[in-house]
């Protein structure tokens, strides 16, 4: 398949791994920020191919995983209201709230529908003028422009029955949190390629100059990751710390300006709660005052809730790269994709689910 197979060539992969092995002179801890990258690492077993000196730890970039429990509870409460059509990307449906999930709400009679684009939700609103249509706007800077566009479009059309439950988060504040922690072990980052496609990578240059840590904006195919790792190892071995761009076929330094304009017009930066991590200042988006009529949290009075995470779940440590999923005593036993204790076990992009799906044999043998 064009544009895909070129980046999955096993021969080139072996050549790059060899190159990394020749360059590396001491142990390095690297983090891939994005869940999609974690998934590729596990699916292709890339960490098994790397020299033992390179340790990969997995970052917080799984949108499903970091959506707070309270937000899932709120979604379920809104979805369960009569006359509401609740729309969402598919993988939010199985995320457990404190008591239930959206699948369960659907089974109990809620009208919950999977859409592939927020604009489909706008279309549903247009064709169902007597129902309130709500879209669950989750994700990082990657999904935010399309979600912003849906709200913008709904306002332009004067739709009175469309709103969005916004739970958008931003990558750089989470990276700053990890870098500022006294426990931080990460010495180099693979920055999230799709987030940078939208936002460019100027913000990451600020992080690099503040923390003197190398970063490579990386893609999502196996060779993208191997090349990113190779570039990071070069920087570390040579004592450099800068932002380099491996994902040049998609990312330019300034990003997608049209998408950024929509973001600025529709959203403003706000404090956000991260599941498993806690509150991070100025780490997400909320709808601007001008779009308040489209904010599901204002349209529906669903009250406030403070849900407790299962105590056993160590997702906070996993999402910050301090622990591996297999370090958790519940992993693969009380916590599985069927019975997730925490969100990283739910989404395919969650680190725990990736380990469970692709690696359990290794732990069974060990």
């Amino acid at each position: 398949m064009k544009y895909v197979d070129e980046y999955r060539d096993p021969k080139i992969a072996l050549a790059v791994t060899g190159e990394i092995a020749r360059k590396v002179t001491r142990p390095w801890v690297l983090m891939e920020v994005c869940g999609g990258q974690t998934h590729t690492l596990m699916r292709y077993g890339i960490d098994e191919l790397l020299p033992p000196a390179i340790e990969m730890v997995h970052g917080p970039g799984c949108p499903v995983c970091v959506t707070p429990l309270e937000m899932v509870d709120r979604a379920i409460r809104i979805a369960s209201l009569p006359d509401v059509i609740f729309t969402s990307y598919g993988d939010m449906l199985r995320v457990p709230g404190s008591e239930s999930d959206l699948f369960q709400a659907k089974a109990n009679g809620a009208d919950v529908r999977v859409v592939y684009s927020p604009l489909d939700a706008v279309k549903i609103a247009r064709t169902n003028p007597n129902r309130q249509v709500v879209f669950f706007g989750v994700g990082f800077e990657t999904t935010a422009p399309a979600n912003g566009m849906a709200v913008w479009q709904a306002k332009r059309e004067g739709l009175r029955n469309f709103s969005m439950l916004v739970s958008h988060v931003l990558v750089p504040p989470a990276m700053r949190l990890i870098l500022s922690s006294p426990l931080n072990r990460v010495q180099g980052f693979i920055a999230p390629g799709h987030v940078c496609t939208v936002m460019g990578y100027r913000e990451y240059e600020d992080l690099v100059s503040e923390f003197h840590v190398p970063m490579v904006v990386g893609g999502f195919e196996p060779l993208d990751l191997l090349e990113s790792i190779s570039m990071l190892v070069s920087q570390l071995e040579e004592g450099r710390a800068e932002v380099e761009n491996q994902y040049v076929r998609s990312v330019n330094p300034e990003g997608n300006l049209a998408a950024q304009n929509i973001l600025r017009e529709v959203f403003e930066v706000s404090d956000r709660q991260w599941r498993g991590i806690g509150p991070i200042a100025q780490s997400g988006y909320k709808l601007r005052q001008e779009f308040a009529d489209f904010d599901a949290e204002r349209v529906f009075d669903v009250g406030d809730s403070h849900a407790e995470e299962p105590k056993e779940c160590i997702s906070a440590l996993v999402l910050q790269g301090l622990k591996k999923p297999v370090d958790c005593p519940a992993f693969g036993k009380r916590c599985t994709p069927m019975t997730p204790l925490g969100a990283p076990m739910v989404s395919a992009e969650g680190a725990c689910a990736a380990y469970y799906q692709y690696r359990r044999h290794a732990t069974a043998i060990a």
């Binding site: 398949m1 895909v4 999955r8 096993p10 992969a13 999609g36 596990m42 699916r43 292709y44 077993g45 890339i46 098994e48 191919l49 949108p63 499903v64 990307y89 598919g90 993988d91 939010m92 449906l93 199985r94 699948f103 369960q104 659907k106 089974a107 109990n108 999977v114 592939y116 989750v138 994700g139 990082f140 990657t142 999904t143 799709h194 196996p222 036993k333 009380r334 599985t336 994709p337 069927m338 019975t339 989404s347 395919a348 992009e349 469970y356 799906q357 692709y358 690696r359 359990r360 044999h361 069974a364 043998i365």
Partner: protein
């Protein structure tokens, strides 16, 4: 009396005795019909304990019972697909092929079908005629007769246009004993052709996704292909077991075989045939072709010494033209990986191929 800690007891019971208490849901969710782990749990927790008998407990795609000296294969399947008409078939042809294939996976020659229709008030009679005509054609082409049936109509809003149930019976030739518990270490795994066509064809049509070339469902009757395979070495049991990887895809079918035979199965990623368009659609939607449904493919576990000959025979049949050996059966008693399916990736690393947990969900980004 000593104070017990209820929480501890519940978790321990859950992890060591029976995992059911943690997963039991008080309502049916869509995942219960996905053919994956939730479906298996529903069988285990609700139906099997109540219906338990030796024939059912074999958990094959069909029951094989002896009646008057003949070994009769017997199976039933319901079809609720949306859209009703899709590239490469419709609910009618699917209802015929699906039940024929469930019989064929037991090595049976299919003979007779029943057809039950649940129609929704207001459904177009013209559409019903098209569906019935498609069933008639599919049955005639496969050499089976639809010999009995039933029709019910439900109020508008209580159905989804039309649901069809078909039941089939066939005769299992002497000496044929196929079952998912027959796989042995060293056996080979054969896949009869490209995977994922049906699931992606349905999804593309349902969601209005357009690709450069239209993806067609692979819906087809497989009993002739099976007959060819069994003819390679009659009455020798070199064909151990057959499964059609429908809902839940290749991963679920292989996991079922691995569990029922208490063996491990290793497959090779590079040997699994997937059409370019299907790979593309899966990439786009974040799906794994190993979990996508097929309606005209089979997986065979065969003895190693007969694998090449069976493969050659399959390739002469249009339904098996792209057949390939995709893996081997491993493990024996005491193997820690028994019941597990693993895949060697193109990169030479090994990963698990798990059963589908619930519904396969398109991911966010």
């Amino acid at each position: 009396m000593p104070q017990l800690l209820p929480e501890t007891i519940v978790t321990e019971a859950a992890s060591f005795v029976c995992p059911a208490p943690l997963t039991q849901r008080d309502r049916i969710v869509l995942g219960h019909g996905s053919g994956g782990r939730l479906s298996a749990e529903l069988l285990r927790d609700v139906f099997l304990p109540l219906f338990s008998n030796p024939v059912l407990n074999r958990m094959d795609d069909q029951a094989i019972v002896e009646i008057g000296g003949a070994r009769v294969a017997f199976t039933t399947d319901s079809f609720v697909v949306q859209p009703l008409f899709f590239p490469g078939g419709d609910i009618g042809s699917l209802a015929v092929h699906g039940t024929i294939n469930d019989l064929a996976m037991g090595g049976a020659r299919p003979l007779f079908l029943s057809a039950g229709f649940i129609l929704e008030e207001g459904f177009s009679t013209e559409a019903l005629r098209r569906i019935a005509s498609s069933m008639a054609q599919a049955a005639a082409a496969a050499g089976v007769s639809i010999v009995t049936g039933d029709t019910k109509v439900v109020e508008r809003g209580k159905g989804d246009g039309v649901f069809i149930n078909t039941t089939g019976i066939g005769i299992v030739p002497d000496g044929v004993h196929l079952s998912a518990n027959q796989a042995r270490p060293g056996d080979r795994v054969i896949l009869s052709g490209v995977i994922g066509d049906h699931g992606i064809a349905i999804l593309a049509k349902r969601e209005g996704l357009e690709f450069e070339t239209e993806i067609q469902s692979d819906s087809a009757a497989l009993h002739n292909l099976v007959a060819t395979m069994l003819a390679v070495s009659p009455a020798s049991n070199v064909v151990r077991c057959l499964r059609d990887p429908t809902r839940g895809g290749v991963s679920s079918a292989l996991n079922e075989i691995a569990m029922q035979s208490r063996v491990s199965i290793q497959i090779e990623e590079t040997s699994i045939p997937v059409r370019e368009e299907v790979r593309g659609a899966c990439e786009l939607l974040g799906l794994d072709p190993l979990y996508v449904a097929n309606e005209g493919k089979l997986l065979a576990i065969v003895a190693p010494e007969a694998a090449d000959e069976i493969l050659a025979a399959m390739r002469l049949n249009p339904c098996g033209a792209e057949a390939a050996i995709i893996g081997t059966v491993g493990g024996a008693v005491g193997d820690e990986n028994a019941g597990m399916v693993t895949m060697r990736t193109a990169f030479g690393s090994t990963r698990i191929v798990d059963m589908l947990a619930g519904e396969q969900l398109p991911r966010i980004c």
